[in-house]
């Protein structure tokens, strides 16, 4: 029997909905939740804590005014659990209704800076929220982790293997900034990017589309692995927690170069152009990088999205794998996303992972964060 594959391959590993008989359903993002620590840390205060006189104006350089940082009682797991609970409550979903729960954080800290490699964090989150039936496993894909989780559950839902799953992450990652503050000497430091990090938990429910909601139309990802060594993070040798070493300019150059062609590919699969996209939610590294990247996208694609790319990095910092969901909720709660709006999540992460998830905001998703009238 002949096996049917798309006639024109795409560089992105891509799924389009609805598919053929092998994947007849459509997946939808029906709820989003987050947990933000109450403590604020300004860039001014973070730079003031550096051991060396760096002369860096971090806010001017990155556009980051402040980020949230965990209190001693919180960690990756508590952030993830709180975000999961918020997401389920907003979506009116009971935890035992979840068929799958995928945890996707980079940090898996519990009780301070002890990184738990086993059990999987998904198992602990499932236990604490009562997702007794859920298949649980963790995905690690740097800052693209949550969207990789959405990519996997999108596939399972499209095929009818499951009806509903939760993708969750808890990033207690600001400690890398504290460590970097001991080592950064000037603007050329490979640990400069660590100073942009902030803490957050985030979760989304992905489920089979109801009432004809268009849901996720295209999800596509690739890894440009020749750039895989441009950002590396390890447990610190002589300090608690971890340290991250980034060749930021090289990473940014590669991302800016490769993103337009891949975004165009995803749009082509969806049969739309960039001017039909209402909201682009990119990974949040720095306001300057986002604006520079989107300017290049508009230049290469010949047009831009209907609204400026969403920027939340100015007040949350880079919250790693949670940035897209944290930003989505800002847009929802600010009333800037209406039911039916076309949203493009754009993942850019160490690896170098680039991915696009195109979906239309459902009425339920919009209503769960405010009034739709």
């Amino acid at each position: 029997m002949a096996l049917m594959y798309p006639a024109s391959p795409t560089w992105l590993l891509t799924e389009r909905s609805p598919g053929d008989a092998s994947a007849p359903y459509v997946a939808d993002i029906t709820s989003a939740g987050r947990s933000l620590p109450v403590r604020h840390l300004s860039s001014e205060d973070l730079i003031a804590s550096t051991r060396h006189h760096t002369g860096i104006d971090l806010e001017r350089l990155t556009g980051i005014r402040e980020r949230r940082v965990v209190s001693p009682d919180d960690d990756s797991l508590t952030l993830a659990v709180a975000a999961a609970a918020d997401c389920l409550e907003r979506g009116g979903v009971e935890a035992p209704e979840l068929d799958a729960l995928v945890s996707c954080s980079i940090t898996k800290y519990r009780d301070g800076t002890t990184q738990w490699l086993e059990p999987a964090m998904s198992s602990a989150v499932a236990h604490r929220i009562g997702a007794t039936r859920a298949v649980t496993f963790d995905i690690a894909n740097a800052c693209a982790g949550m969207l990789t989780g959405v990519f996997v559950l999108n596939n399972w839902i499209r095929r009818g293997a499951i009806r509903r799953g939760l993708v969750v992450s808890g990033e207690s990652i600001s400690g890398l900034g504290r460590n970097a503050a001991h080592h950064v000497r000037n603007i050329m430091s490979k640990e400069l990017a660590s100073l942009t990090l902030g803490d957050a938990g985030a979760a989304v429910v992905v489920e089979r589309s109801r009432d004809g909601s268009p849901g996720i139309s295209v999800a596509g990802f690739t890894t440009v692995a020749e750039h895989s060594r441009l950002c590396l993070a390890y447990p610190a040798v002589h300090e608690p927690g971890a340290r991250m070493f980034t060749r930021s300019q090289a990473l940014q150059r590669a991302a800016i170069k490769d993103t337009p062609v891949l975004l165009q590919e995803a749009l082509d699969v969806a049969g739309i152009d960039i001017s039909q996209v209402d909201h682009v939610i990119p990974h949040q590294t720095s306001a300057r990088a986002i604006r520079k990247g989107m300017a290049h996208v508009s230049e290469v694609l010949g047009a831009g999205p209907r609204n400026d790319a969403v920027v939340t990095v100015d007040h949350y910092g880079n919250t790693a794998s949670t940035t897209h969901t944290v930003a989505l909720i800002d847009e929802l709660s600010g009333g800037r996303i209406a039911p039916g709006d076309q949203v493009a999540f754009v993942a850019i992460a160490s690896g170098l992972v680039i991915g696009v998830v195109l979906f239309r905001a459902s009425e339920g998703l919009v209503r769960s964060h405010g009034d739709t009238d």
């Binding site: 990184q115 596939n155 890894t223 692995a225 060594r229 690896g351």
Partner: protein
């Protein structure tokens, strides 16, 4: 039609690779692709399920480094052809079964033609992991969709939550440095077997099968009391439950599968059950028809 597992390859650590999960993964991937007469450019999706790695690397996932080192479309995108996507799955000794289920999904939907699965574990160093209990090793296999009536699936999972009270692995700061500790309590094997049996029974019931319909159980972890309890609860002779003593960790499931292949016990038509249990306690089962 189902997902076939081909080119299964198992490598052990030599003096150059015993502290490098990356090298072990790369060696296993190259061997698996070679056995299938495939090139790295044929790989559309690469999933790594290994946990213990060089320097306890936290970011990026190990999979992109493996992808780069084997040369699976690592370059900037170019139109008209397909690239490679790679990421890690983490679920201890069950990670490869999770990866198989994910691979099966993308193959069933014809999203991808070739998936490369790999796992490896190696002590990052004596200093960073003074009591690392596993043999350095790597395993890889190629998954492709086939029109034949062979292959893997369906899958079933069972949770018996304990949040690590019977098995946990942590990297924490002590004595002036971050150290990896892996703690397996005495009752882990029993708890793991209970969860694995529950997953197996649910899988068999869902598919209207009985234990006597299963010829072989390919299992991980390779704890003697785990295998014995699984055999007893499923009313199978002990020799029907095959593990590979290693001691392996994330590699264990493929090591056991390689062992039954080497022994010629995975003949055409054999109905096998892939069965594993991980910290959590989380257990998974899948049917596999050779």
């Amino acid at each position: 039609m189902a997902t076939r597992i081909d080119g299964l390859s198992l490598v052990t650590g030599g003096w150059r690779s015993r502290h490098s999960a990356l090298r072990l993964s790369v060696d296993a991937c190259r061997a698996a692709l070679g056995r299938c007469e495939l090139t790295p450019q044929d790989v559309g999706l690469l999933i790594n399920a290994g946990l213990y790695r060089d320097g306890n690397l936290g970011e990026p996932a190990l999979a992109p480094l493996i992808q780069d080192d084997i040369g699976a479309n690592p370059e900037d995108p170019h139109p008209g052809t397909a690239g490679t996507f790679s990421f890690d799955v983490a679920n201890g000794a069950c990670g490869l079964l999770n990866a198989l289920e994910i691979a099966d999904g993308f193959l069933r939907s014809r999203t991808v033609q070739t998936v490369l699965l790999v796992a490896s574990d190696a002590s990052p160093s004596r200093r960073l992991a003074p009591e690392f209990p596993y043999l350095p090793g790597g395993a890889a296999a190629v998954c492709q969709w086939t029109a034949d009536q062979v292959g893997i699936g369906p899958f079933k999972w069972h949770n018996a939550f304990d949040e690590g009270s019977t098995f946990r692995a942590t990297v924490g700061f002590e004595g002036g440095r971050n150290v990896l500790h892996i703690v397996e309590e005495a009752d882990f094997a029993e708890r793991a077997a209970e969860a694995a049996v529950a997953a197996a029974v649910e899988l068999l019931e869902d598919n209207h099968l009985a234990p006597e319909d299963i010829d072989l159980i390919v299992a991980s972890p390779a704890l003697p009391s785990f295998a014995k309890r699984v055999a007893s609860e499923l009313a199978k002779p002990e020799e029907a439950v095959v593990t590979d003593p290693g001691p392996w960790h994330t590699v264990g499931l493929f090591a056991a599968l390689a062992r039954v292949q080497r022994a010629g016990r995975l003949r055409s038509g054999t109905n096998a059950l892939l069965l594993c249990a991980a910290a959590g306690v989380n257990a998974g089962a899948a049917l596999y028809r050779a």
